[in-house]
Assembly symmetry: C2
Homo-oligomer: 184 residues x 2
DNA sequence: ACCTGAACACCGTTCAAGT
DNA sequence: ACCTGAACACCGTTCAAGT
């Protein structure tokens, strides 16, 4: 990549973070390019889709969350490990309002630039869930996709002004639903 | 209203239902007006906002759901009454994809044409919740807004292709979270 | 190799002009 | 009283032309 292109790339990322933080994941691409002081076509060559831009913005944080899932496996209580990671995941998907809906769409669209990242997140959670099913009290019919779905639902709650103040309480309520399996 | 205006009004509603069923609650207003064979300005005079159009489309079903909440109060088990109505409510908010997000926004916007209808839905659910808290095992710190929030979250799940097939299972899981209060 | 402005086909909103 | 076409300021996408 030529050095002017590299500068543009970085500058677009910084500006995009600022704009999307303020306006949400469906912010105007034109607006981002204007505020980055770059031609609109330049933005689209670096990031051919909105998903590609979001993926670049989220990549490092997604990897961090995946690593965290691994490290949480060392927590004594499998139940507590699962719920603690769920809390972290819900905080993460709320970085940008509307991001979680885009991530959910990416899961069922293999051509999305966000698809692989979301798959990784799902499989990271799956390991914690399976441990809590084997050695804890997690619902035994639940899948990694279900866990992702609940992260999504809680993220959506946090995006709604009317519900955001109660999202922590509702996370704990849903956690009780997850952990309600009876020992045999 | 002049008779030609009345005809337009009805015809717009029928067409809007068809278009929004297919494309979701964020379908193009221009597209609706074109398919209704009516000037775009005519659509906007009858329904000054998208919310007003949605409200007109949902009104009768919303009233039906409110009545159903009343009749469910006669069900013996307060827990079962609450969860049965929750199931009905989740089915209802899924009539149009994206409708539930619009309803959530309407709750915290008193100027929205949908605001009153959503308030009514919330208070209908609140009565069933309070009965299940007093005589059943519903979470005692839960509010009517929380119940609406969970309906919204489950509706959102149903709007996502990746999660829709599991939304019934996840409803029952969340229902367990709601009913997990221990008798004292 | 990289960037840009302009064109294209859309969108919601508004309003002067028609019947 | 009611309707309409056109204008306005947007949007994402594409592409010929510039350096």
């Amino acid at each position: 990549m030529r050095s002017d292109a590299k500068e543009n790339y970085q500058h677009i990322l910084v500006t995009a973070h600022a704009v999307i933080s303020e306006q949400g994941a469906d912010a105007s691409m034109r607006d981002i390019s204007r505020k980055a002081g770059v031609g609109l076509a330049t933005l689209f060559r670096h990031f051919p889709t909105r998903e590609a831009l979001l993926e670049a913005l989220l990549r490092s944080k997604l990897e961090e969350l995946t690593r965290k899932a691994d490290s949480f496996e060392t927590i004594d209580s499998p139940n507590e490990a699962l719920v603690s990671w769920l809390r972290e995941a819900v905080i993460f998907v709320r970085v940008y309002s509307g991001a979680v809906t885009m991530m959910a769409a990416a899961l069922s669209d293999p051509t999305s630039a966000l698809h692989a990242s979301c798959e990784n997140l799902r499989s990271a959670g799956t390991r914690l869930l399976q441990r809590a099913q084997a050695k804890g009290s997690a619902e035994k019919y639940m899948t990694g996709s279900d866990l992702f779905a609940l992260i999504g639902a809680l993220g959506w709650l946090g995006d709604q002004d009317a519900f955001a103040p109660r999202s922590d309480y509702l996370l704990e309520l849903i956690a009780r639903g997850i952990l309600s399996s009876q020992p045999e």
